[in-house]
């Protein structure tokens, strides 16, 4: 159950995406114009990455759920194989 949720998996690298995107991009996005939806470009950039953070975490959650389902049914078949 819970133990199958522990451990890092390849898609967890996606977790760095918000940090790298939001902060890395600031070097290029530090400008006022063009205004997007009326707000300065820098603010728009950051707000977009806040939304993107949500999307990325949702994607990771979906991949984790799929992984856990696959593992749960796999474990059922092996009848708790030794590790």
């Amino acid at each position: 159950m819970t133990a199958s949720r522990a451990g890092l998996r390849a898609h967890h690298w996606l977790g760095f995406l918000p940090t790298v995107g939001m902060l890395g991009g600031i070097l290029f996005a530090n400008r006022v114009r063009p205004l997007v939806f009326g707000i300065p470009f820098l603010f728009f950039w950051i707000a977009s990455w806040v939304v993107a953070t949500s999307v990325v975490m949702w994607l990771i959650l979906r991949l984790d759920r799929a992984y856990e389902r696959a593992r749960a049914s796999g474990e059922h078949a092996d009848a708790e194989g030794g590790r």
């Binding site: 603010f43 806040v50 953070t53 984790d64």
Partner: protein
């Protein structure tokens, strides 16, 4: 005027009633009082987590930063979002290592992971040292909000005393359940108030958000980008990184983790909470609207900008609603900070001094400490001079020093020993104190270095010292003794930890 005061009074009383009702049907053991027996689902944990991050600092400080500093204020939007992406991995790991073990405080976690009670006492003291100034900040905010929204009818001191009395009452009676229930009221109010103000004020004063930023850009060309007012991209990126890893080293978040029924709660929250954080954008819009319309608030007075522009725009009834929402942004986080501090002092300091004290005794001491801590904080709020400001500035850097030891403790067994964790934390804290008290910055420490380095947040230095110390002590003690796993139940982790995670509390 009386209308505004009446509305605030009604919401204030409502929050007390909610806080008291929250207790119903729950016996108040220490575990129930501090962490609700670990029985909260997604919604209550969401309210607690959002409640802990959305404080008076966000409400007054967020608008104040936008008003006084411009673009650098965006860091307040960035760091929680990145903290949430970290929380997806960090909080379930903390939960799995804690669930069913009766932990009530952050120090309990460190004691169990590293098998060192000394480390527990140090972590407890670090936690309280950071919590008290943060509590003082909430009281200061409360005083400002009520004095402004009552048009000066109620003095800050009177408001602070009334707020303190309410906190003592419902925190002693209901513990964390009171916080969760009042958080629901707070979040509903703040959502409506902040979005309405953020959309209406730019429209009312400038004819729209676009025209407002055009006007600001014309009047103050450097205001809307980083670097213009002295805070560069180096400062911004390092500050966001430091504060985002610091968020979950605050003791009250450990309490939040222990309240959860399952580790999946945190994964779902990590998806939703960044969107919720977008609310801060509307707080910024209020500050930006004020910057050209109510100029002249210098330094800390920028925190008044939200109320100053609101009072020039809205009727007293609306001011009452804004004031009531602001009141709750002080009371709800305040209650959680109080619970954390009282729990830590009772369980990890009092109990260390009086090992014979039983469960009931510790639970009693925790609640008895609530009025003591509250009165102490009120005293500091009303009489603390510049010392308290220095403490506030230190707060985040103080707790962030726990981060390396926290992360290295996760997994099956800690990657470093207790001596290394202890040495790292102490070295980090000493550095924080030295830097803060001497007013040093990287520019003064490394005058010959390029601005990209010297403009980094000076908190980076303490973290580097911390990690280096951990490395040195780990290398020096390597091979002498195996990493201790004394109080961890079974060293194997994984499956066996699961077996013991069936809660012994009904």
């Amino acid at each position: 005027m009386t209308v505004a005061l009446s509305i605030m009074a009604v919401v204030f009383l409502l929050s007390i009633v909610l806080g008291l009702l929250a207790r119903r049907g729950h016996p108040m053991t220490l575990e129930q009082w501090s962490v609700a027996g670990g029985g909260f689902g997604s919604i209550f944990v969401f309210l607690l987590m959002a409640g802990e991050l959305y404080t008076t600092f966000t409400f007054l400080g967020g608008s104040g930063w936008a008003y006084g500093k411009g673009a650098p204020a965006m860091y307040i939007l960035c760091y929680p979002a990145l903290a949430y992406s970290l929380s997806y991995f960090l909080l379930p790991a903390i939960w799995r290592a804690s669930h069913g073990r009766g932990f009530v405080s952050q120090a309990d976690f460190f004691i169990a992971r590293y098998g060192s009670r000394t480390l527990g006492v140090i972590v407890a003291l670090v936690g309280v040292a950071a919590l008290v100034p943060y509590l003082v900040l909430q009281f200061k905010g409360l005083g400002i909000i009520v004095a402004e929204a009552s048009y000066g009818r109620v003095s800050p001191a009177a408001a602070i005393w009334a707020g303190a009395a309410a906190l003592i009452l419902y925190v002693v009676v209901s513990g964390v359940r009171g916080s969760a229930w009042t958080a629901a009221l707070k979040d509903a109010m703040i959502l409506v108030v902040v979005v309405a103000m953020g959309l209406y004020l730019p429209y009312h004063w400038y004819g729209g958000i676009g025209p407002m930023f055009e006007a600001i850009d014309k009047a103050r060309p450097d205001f809307l980008t980083l670097g213009g007012t002295g805070r560069s991209t180096s400062w911004f990126i390092s500050t966001v990184l430091l504060t985002s890893i610091g968020v979950y080293t605050w003791p009250q978040f450990f309490g939040g983790v222990y309240t959860a029924r399952s580790d999946d709660v945190f994964r779902k929250n990590a998806v939703v909470l960044p969107l919720y954080q977008l609310l801060v954008l509307f707080v910024f819009l209020v500050g930006f609207a004020a910057t050209l319309k109510v100029p002249g608030l210098v330094g800390a007075d920028g925190d008044l900008s939200l109320f100053r522009i609101a009072k020039r725009t809205f009727s007293p009834a609306a001011i009452g609603i804004i004031g009531a929402a602001g009141l709750l942004t002080a009371l709800v986080p305040g209650s959680m900070l109080l619970i954390s501090a009282a729990t830590i002092l009772a369980k990890n300091v009092y109990r260390e001094l009086v090992p014979t004290a039983g469960e009931r005794r510790v639970a009693f001491v925790a609640r008895a400490l609530v009025p003591v801590l509250t009165l102490g904080s009120v005293f500091l709020t009303l009489h603390g001079g510049s010392a308290i400001v220095a403490l506030l500035l230190m707060g985040y850097n103080v707790v962030t020093q726990l981060f390396p030891a926290l992360v290295l403790s996760l997994g099956k067994s800690p990657r470093i020993g207790a001596p290394a964790a202890l040495a790292g934390i102490v070295a980090g804290e000493v550095t924080v104190a030295a830097i803060t008290l001497s007013g040093a910055s990287l520019a003064t420490l490394l005058p010959a270095w390029p601005p990209v380095i010297t403009e980094l947040n000076v908190g980076v230095v303490a973290l580097v010292v911390n990690v280096m110390t951990i490395l040195v002590v780990t290398l020096a003690t390597r091979g002498r003794a195996p990493v201790t796993t004394v109080t961890r139940g079974s060293g194997a982790g994984g499956e066996s930890a699961m077996a013991s995670s069936v809660s012994p509390i009904a």
